[in-house]
Subunit: 411 residues, 4 copies
């Protein structure tokens, strides 16, 4: 048994297949994938990695399995899935995931091949574990898949606490020890035991508070959009393959961006945190349906148009249209007086938070500091936004809050 | 200058009038008033006192005054109010406050006399501070009264963080440093600066999570109801005066209850945590208007009736009807695009939390462990409750959660 | 199984005999015994109790038993001893223990009778546990007694961490999770496993730092000496019995001191933290052998003499001669290259810390604020101290540090 | 003013010259220099950077300047030095510093040129600050240089707390708030005020506990030695310049090692944490004078000899002879009864810790897992060590402790 010191869960004991998996290059690579991508440009302490998060998820999964009395090969399989659940992550975690998906058709939890054909597969074979079943667990399939990837998964429990610890933001502090204890199965459904409506709500609220403060903080969004655009330029290079980029770590990607002519300017900006600023920051209700429904190519065309009108290079205008907010926790199941109920039915908070999320949603257009005015006008016109609204929105609280706090003067 | 080590704010520097007030018997007495009354019977670490809380409130007030650039005698007056804001508390803080109010007409913030006529008054005089103005601040009056007692007061900021720290519950962890920095005045209104809708919401959510978990935890409610009833018996004694009880500390009150014949049985139960159990636990919608509107005497009559029917002594039945839930934070004011807005208008969470609070509301009837069945039936009948609902409700989650957790078998 | 939330160890699971013992009046009484007695007059947050500490000791004992693979009735007996190890404490924990020992012949770990003849004995009988064997474990006897009371006991591991948490002092933060994991038996000796010389040292260092900062802080010593003297007066009363005082809780003792004529003045001082000040503060080397060897009666005589010379009442002069410092950790045993060695042989720190402790030792004479000068001179003369040294010593750093910090002006 | 959220100090307010310096590429580069180099291979959470540490040092310096009432341009200069004190660090902080010093003659605090000739110099010029004076402060020169680099510098206060926070090790928790408050000048000497011998000792003890547990943990030493050797190979490349390597960040260095033929094998090992193991682990007393005094070239020759004898490549044997332990804290100055005294004179702990450090010192020889036996014998012979001692030493506690804990089976 190996004992590892973790800044969140203190001592983590790793044994069995998980201990062997830890030593594979695929899991060790996670040491060099930042858990929160460019969020570290907002919160300088947020340098934690997918590796320590994977250890944390393994730890909570082990605790949950004890409480659920799951043992033997089934438990080993789930612990393997826990330690492996993020091996499919591209550099900078989610930051360029959508982009790579367009090129490779794969998301970070599509790991069938990775698990079967690498050292990971060898370790699993040594322990008589079928890689396909582990991949299924990671994809959230089957009764136990819910524990690894679902509304009540240990993944979320770890990241909320860990991200709060490392950013210094006090909002993600859920009672994860209690959550893990209160999990139970009703038939094949993973639910929270009687008396835990509020426990379920606290998980929901933690994410609702962490979202605008951390995960979608404007500076994180701007830097992520810039990284995404630069990586797209990188993928345009003849000698670069999307599958290869997906297997890079953060070091590889940053280096590739630095040494590629088309992306060197971005790399320089990234390295010195010289970021674009907001030209447009528009509320959901002010954005036409057609823009919300626009696909990637259409938005690239808008960027090119706006850049041309403003006599900028295409690289200097970014249109950032977030997906519609979701609230997966609304389907969390809790036991109430012996019945399994969805949290969305039981708790008035779910609807309120869904509304709040929509109110926090913003379309952003970013450009260089000296071009925000003219790009703002051109983009608002091109996108059919009310200019007044788009610009005034720039100071809407609840969203720009921390930005202003961190950035007085600079983007 | 005196520096005091605090487990929440680390070093607290006390100077000026506040340092002198610290040494008065009235402030020192707060060392012997438990901040959360009987909550310590649920959370054994919750032994913190009004004294350390008062220091914390003083500390946050001082920080806020710096940020608001309030100086001189005005600042001294506010700091005095901060350190004194709880000197009017009766033993066990809020637990017997309502009862004593019925006898004395005074709440804990009615401190005009206490401040004017004791050593506190002498200290204030030494510093040329008018006691009446300090009492007004404590009562929340005037522009600066909002800082001491209002929707955005430093009292709440301290107690949420402190109560979370001492109970071990992770839900009260607001970003109090940020809150204090973001306070500003618009005219005479204390508001949160631009960009803080979410900061305001986090304060609201923290209280919403702490309420059922800590402040109105069923075991805390039962023990508080028992304490209240025993204290009422105490006040029936010919040689006991309500004003005197109000000035007691926790040691005095516990001792008085122990040595008085009519209350000795309670004291024995309290000392060994041998508490009543729930006979009825009814939801808001199931309770007739007339019961909700019943006054103290009417409820005492119900208790007597039920006890008689069940052949119990009047002491052995307690009917506990909480006040309607309030949400004072809904009137918190925040700056949004230059306008002062009420949080209740701005945030969909306010309505949702108000609904959630009402759903968590419960009427309780408590009695000895062996009498819960017959008392439940008799009380439901007498109060016009649907018996079925009243009893099934006993396992309603979100309310009994922690009770079950702590008490497997025992109350 | 009962789960209890603790501010130090988070969730503590209590089951078996321990769960039943929790409900006895003898264990519940510990809720009203302050863990650190009068230390709360220095650190206002230090209001934690022997009850939560006992839960913590039980928790660490359970973890240690798991690691040591001790099971069955033996484990139940040890867990019972853990939860009961402090039931013999008098009010204010160690503050009046020596005094009561002079009257009753009992220390806090002499609990044979208490365990056999109260509700505790009934619970043990229900679980077929012999009270005498539990009492032996509490007294540190036998192989497993070392775990409850010895150089490597879980008692110390809990109190160092808990006292640091509640005072806010960062020095007691040992790696208790590691300590518990590294315990092992070599024959019948409880030792730390290979590779833990430094782990053992850290325990030693934590206590060395906590001692002057917390446990023997001058203000804690003064208030403890005052309490001890007042309690001695209380024991002089014809209707008071020392055995009875030993069974009191803090509430009882404070009340008794308030209502007894001879001690009311002390109670008033205690309640308003109006403490004596130091008249003498003399180093070990400056104190004659005869004073170090003086027994209780001789020191009482000195006090009376000095008081008379200074025209004070006997109550107003206190001579406080601490015992010689000990360093029980020096006999801690650790495995080094397969041999069991004593830490004192292995670590140069042990000798250094022993020297440091002697340097921190001080004889104190305390009196009312206005009499320190004349009492200092009279006491120095009477005790044969060099006056100059005794007074200059008043500002010796490392000892008065925090005193000055907390008390600017007042004791 | 910019406010930055830090996981250690919460909100850090940056203003004036420091705020402008933050935006220079030289300071931003520190985001990509790991504070503890390869220690993250032992403690997976230790991913914190020189950037956040520099912010922390700036923060503590600002607090100290307030307490010392230093203002105006002098204070600005010191704050600039605080934020800049680590800009001269090579990749992986101290790991390859000695190596680069042999090639460039520069240590990390030789920053005259860097400060004068880059964007940093421009910012300093804008604020009328002389770069040479800032460089002097960073080098620890002059009255105020002690605050930035000296026995009582804020650098150490920050790193002890930060490294403890991020590794999860509880030993570095000094009372930094108190330390900063207690600094004072006596003439031109920075000393701790009266009453702080123990405060000074606690700083010393924290470092003494962090050293073997974190800074010189065997796995950290092995990986650091491997990195150093690989970087030395890199410097052998004709197109690589030591000055250039010194200006790299961690990303650059890792990439350079990956793409250079002579170092690719190391990079693969580093990336998958496939480290060498210990062949020799010898105590100070067992190492001949000549070996202790050997210079770099001589040790390289030993490595080559041993490798040849064992039929390994020169890369596969590393001889790691640490410098003699120092204890800079022994010259810390404290005020004792009005005199400035060195801690080394005042505290018996200094000598004890110096002895303890020497006892923890180990010479290491590292090689591939399958060659430890034969390399151990060959190296012991070549270095004139007693073979028996050198190998048995492998399990000496206090040093291998955490290694075994983390590594069951793997190096």
């Amino acid at each position: 048994m190996t004992t590892i010191k973790d800044s969140v869960h203190d001592h983590i004991e790793v044994e069995g297949v998980a201990a062997d998996l830890l030593d594979t290059p695929q899991v060790q690579r996670l040491r060099r994938i930042a858990q929160l991508g460019t969020v570290k440009l907002v919160y300088p302490s947020a340098n934690h990695t997918r590796f320590e998060h994977s250890l944390g998820v393994y730890h909570l999964a082990s605790r949950a399995l004890e409480h659920l009395s799951v043992e033997g090969i089934q438990a080993e399989r789930i612990r393997a899935a826990a330690i492996l659940h993020d091996v499919g992550h591209a550099p900078f975690s989610h930051n360029v995931e959508e982009l790579l998906h367009r090129h490779t058709g794969l998301y970070h939890d599509d790991v069938d091949r990775l698990i079967a054909r690498t050292e990971v597969g060898d370790v699993l074979a040594d322990h008589d574990i079928d890689p396909a079943r582990v991949a299924d667990l990671i994809a959230g399939e089957g009764k136990y898949g819910q524990l690894v990837s679902g509304e009540l998964d240990v993944d979320r429990m770890d990241y909320l606490v860990r991200d709060a610890h490392h950013t210094g933001v006090p909002y993600g502090t859920i009672d994860h020890e209690r959550l893990v204890r209160e999990l139970t199965f009703v038939g094949d459904e993973l639910v929270l035991d009687e008396g835990n409506v509020q426990t379920a709500e606290s998980l929901l609220l933690a994410r609702a508070l962490m979202n605008p403060t951390v995960y979608t903080h404007p500076v994180a969004r701007i830097s992520k959009a810039m990284l995404r655009h630069a990586t797209e330029r990188l993928l345009d290079q003849p000698d670069i393959d999307a599958g290869e980029v997906r297997r890079m770590d953060d070091y590889d990607l940053v280096t590739a961006l630095r040494v590629t002519d088309d992306t060197a300017a971005f790399a320089r900006r990234y390295d010195s945190r010289d970021l674009y600023k907001r030209a447009v920051w528009a509320e959901y209700g002010d954005v036409p349906e057609s823009v919300l429904a626009a696909d990637h190519e259409e938005l690239r065309a808008v960027e090119a148009d706006v850049a041309e009108r403003c006599e900028l290079s295409a690289e200097e205008v970014i249109v950032d249209v977030p997906a519609e907010p979701t609230m997966t926790e609304s389907t969390t199941e809790v036991l109430v007086n012996g019945d399994v109920r969805r949290l969305g039915e039981q708790s008035p908070l779910v609807t309120a938070l869904r509304t709040a999320q929509r109110e926090q949603w913003r379309l952003g257009v970013y450009t260089t500091a000296d071009a925000t005015d003219r790009v703002g006008k051109a983009a608002a016109e091109r996108l059919g936004l009310d200019i007044e609204g788009a610009l005034v929105a720039d100071v809407t609280p609840g969203v720009t809050a921390t930005l202003d706090e961190f950035d007085g003067g600079k983007p």
